[in-house]
């Protein structure tokens, strides 16, 4: 017996051998083995002595279930003790008596399969003879029952370990998927596919939109035809209106478990006959819905349902699904926060740059801006071009040290202070002094660099009056191909209460250009980046190009010189006197 048990991998596989061993060695004719299944005893297998046929009795035994106390198996189950019947035909608690009598079965005994946890099943044996009770036999059978009980318990423990390993592997895989990407829509679709068929025949993910509507992100099903059917049903009968399942989970934020969906229970949830029809053809047998939660809010829900597999969900499945819901909820929440942050950054960034450049008669103006990183932080570079009087224009470019909200605030302050100052003061050097005072008063650690120029049309040429505060001097590109730095060094803005700025004046003739840029363009580290010399060479090779083409060429060269992507923001303003 021990050998039989140790080789078997399940009670179903061991049952015929157990019954055969009991029947043959003891000379009994029919055996049956029962296990407890959802509150009743159900027959796992029937054994008959070779050559014997008891079709009626076998059929009723395989078909019938016994609650505790009823019949021979129920009696053993409720008492936990073996039982002996000399002749089943004369026993008043043996519902199968007439079939047994018709096929000549009389004596019977049964013993419990038990473990420390109680009765797990029952083994019956029948004889064609009327049998006197045999205490020794019953005692031996009780020992065998305990052995079988231990076997079942052991197998169940192993099954449960394997199941928990599968659950753990599933969660680990889902967690890795969710953590790997900020594109939660695509990721959740992958998670839904991961759930089928291991966890469900049917897995769907829905998210709750800010306006309260439910959007289905993903459906995975073992049978694609049913996906189409379910999608049709969903359009016709919105889940928002449903009193159970998805709609309820989204309202309450609590998971719902329906271990067994009885066919007639569908009638109570169906809106009308057609709905009922679709529900029935989906063939759902068991289902659970878990919320996607993060920071105490319900962001959506995952649906798991079984149909063809006949899987029945229990508390362990639900706790796995709940855990998945939490993981997925956090992933959705993170992705949304990130999107929101990127959106704010883009909006703020746009507010810090002029929406369009002014048209200046006789002067071409081009500007480029490229924020470093993934676009979720506000960059610190800024530029502006605006009219300051009749035939006079201001061109400025600047760079705030740092990134993020603090830097954005300083960028806004700098840009607006410069614009305001330029309305009442025409000398660039004085305008920088005003900004320096504003920043020093502001008492932050942030500082900025600025190159500020005033352009005045003087017939065909343009006079440039320029001051720099800690900023790379703009590069002059002559129509004849000469390049030189324009402007002289000045102190950083916002650091010293006694700043020092120098004024430079130069005249641009038709075809001459002036390139303003931030140090993101010439971020030259050992081995990477565009050096200032390389930038000069590039400009020389582009002599005669329009302002637009020059700005393009510089931007492209700066980006290409940093193969890993620009580490700093890049801003470029190019002005050129038309020929």
């Amino acid at each position: 017996m021990t050998r039989v048990l140790s080789k078997a991998t399940s009670i179903g596989e061991a049952a015929p051998k157990i019954l055969g061993a009991v029947g043959e060695s003891l000379g009994w004719d029919v055996g049956a083995i029962w296990t407890i299944d959802r509150g009743v005893l159900r027959c796992v297998d029937v054994w008959k002595a070779p050559g014997l046929d008891v079709p009626e009795f076998e059929a009723i035994t395989r078909e019938k279930t016994f609650p505790p106390g009823v019949g021979l198996p129920g009696r053993v189950w409720s008492t936990g003790a073996s039982a002996w019947i000399e002749d089943v035909g004369r026993d008043d608690n043996f519902p199968r008596a007439s079939m047994a009598a018709a096929e000549g079965l009389h004596g019977a005994f049964a013993f419990p399969i038990s473990s420390g946890a109680g009765v797990l099943g029952v083994v019956e044996a029948f004889s064609r003879q009327v049998r006197e009770p045999d205490e020794d036999l019953l005692e031996m059978m009780a020992a065998i029952g305990t052995q079988i009980g231990l076997f079942i318990q052991h197998r169940e423990a192993e099954d449960s370990i394997r199941a928990s390993e599968r659950r753990f592997a599933f969660l680990a895989e889902a967690g890795a998927l969710l953590a790997a990407s900020l594109n939660y829509e695509r990721t959740l679709a992958k998670v839904a596919r991961l759930g089928v068929p291991d966890l469900a025949d049917w897995c769907a993910v829905d998210v709750l939109e800010p306006d309260g509507t439910i959007r289905r992100l993903a459906v995975a099903h073992t049978d694609p035809a049913k996906v189409a059917l379910a999608n049709r049903m969903r359009r016709r009968y919105p889940p928002e209106d449903a009193g159970a399942g998805l709609g309820k989970v989204l309202r309450t934020g609590r998971s719902e478990l329906y271990p067994q969906i009885a066919p007639d229970s569908l009638e109570t949830i169906a809106f009308d006959d057609e709905h009922l029809n679709i529900l029935q053809s989906l063939g759902l047998t068991s289902g659970m819905w878990v919320p996607l939660t993060a920071r105490g809010r319900t962001l959506g829900a995952i649906t798991f349902a079984s149909s063809d597999s006949g899987r029945v969900y229990g508390p362990e499945d639900l706790s796995l699904a709940d855990e998945l819901g939490r993981l997925a909820g956090v992933a959705v929440d993170n992705a949304r926060l990130y999107e929101e942050r990127s959106h704010i950054a883009r909006t703020l960034q746009r507010s810090l740059l002029p929406p369009r450049l002014p048209e200046i008669p006789g002067i071409e103006v081009a500007a480029r801006y490229r924020a470093a990183g993934e676009g979720n932080e506000v960059g610190g570079d800024f530029y502006d071009v605006f009219e300051v009087g009749k035939g006079a224009w201001a061109v400025m470019i600047g760079d705030v040290c740092g990134k993020g909200a603090g830097a954005a605030a300083i960028t806004g302050l700098a840009r607006h202070t410069l614009r305001t100052a330029a309305m009442s003061e025409w000398r660039p050097r004085r305008i920088l002094v005003v900004l320096n005072e504003a920043l020093v008063r502001n008492e932050t650690d942030e500082y900025c660099t600025v190159a500020f120029a005033r352009l005045s049309s003087m017939g065909k040429r343009v006079r440039v009056t320029l001051a720099c505060g800690g900023h790379p001097p703009p590069l002059f590109l002559g129509a004849d191909g000469t390049v030189e730095a324009a402007g002289r060094p000045g102190t950083l803005l916002g650091v010293f209460p006694d700043p020092e700025f120098a004024t430079a004046v130069l005249d641009l003739q038709p075809g001459d250009a002036l390139l303003f840029y931030t140090d993101g363009v010439t971020e030259s580290r050992p081995g990477v980046g565009l050096s200032e010399t390389a930038l000069r060479d590039l400009l020389v090779s582009r002599t005669g190009d329009s302002a637009e083409k020059l700005a393009d060429a510089v931007e492209r060269a700066a980006v290409e010189a940093q193969p890993d992507g620009p580490r700093d923001d890049i801003a470029i303003v190019c002005v050129r006197v038309s020929e």
Binding site: G470, P489, G490, T491, R525
Partner: protein, 112 residues
């Protein structure tokens, strides 16, 4: 990852920080905590040696300006040994070569 190192040496209240590699947004945090730690010891002279520094960005510049401002407040002398041309240019562009103290030979201070 950006390569950056700070090495600290001290002789008779003169603390010297030697910076090697690239000082930028990614590495500034390390210099900042090292500066705060060293300043906590109340040195009479702080030397920042940039001779081995290959790159500095505005974040790095801000740290050095901040350290200089604290040195003035605390009545401590702070001197910088200039780095290679590409690094020193960043200081010149902002007129910091005139606003901060630069010394060519740190041994003149270390022996003092």
């Amino acid at each position: 990852m950006t390569d950056f190192q700070v090495s600290v040496s001290e002789t008779d209240g003169v603390v010297s920080l030697s910076l090697t590699g690239e000082l930028d947004l990614a590495t500034a945090g390390r210099l900042e905590s090292e500066l705060r730690r060293v300043e906590g010891g109340g040195p009479s002279v702080l030397i920042i040696d940039l001779r081995q520094l290959r790159f500095i960005d505005s974040t790095g510049l801000r740290l050095i300006i901040g350290a200089d401002a604290r040195a003035r407040e605390d009545g401590r002398r702070m001197a910088i040994v200039p780095g290679p041309v590409s690094v020193h240019k960043v200081f010149e562009l902002a007129l910091l070569d005139k606003r901060l103290e630069f010394i060519e030979d740190p041994s003149t201070l270390e022996g003092a």
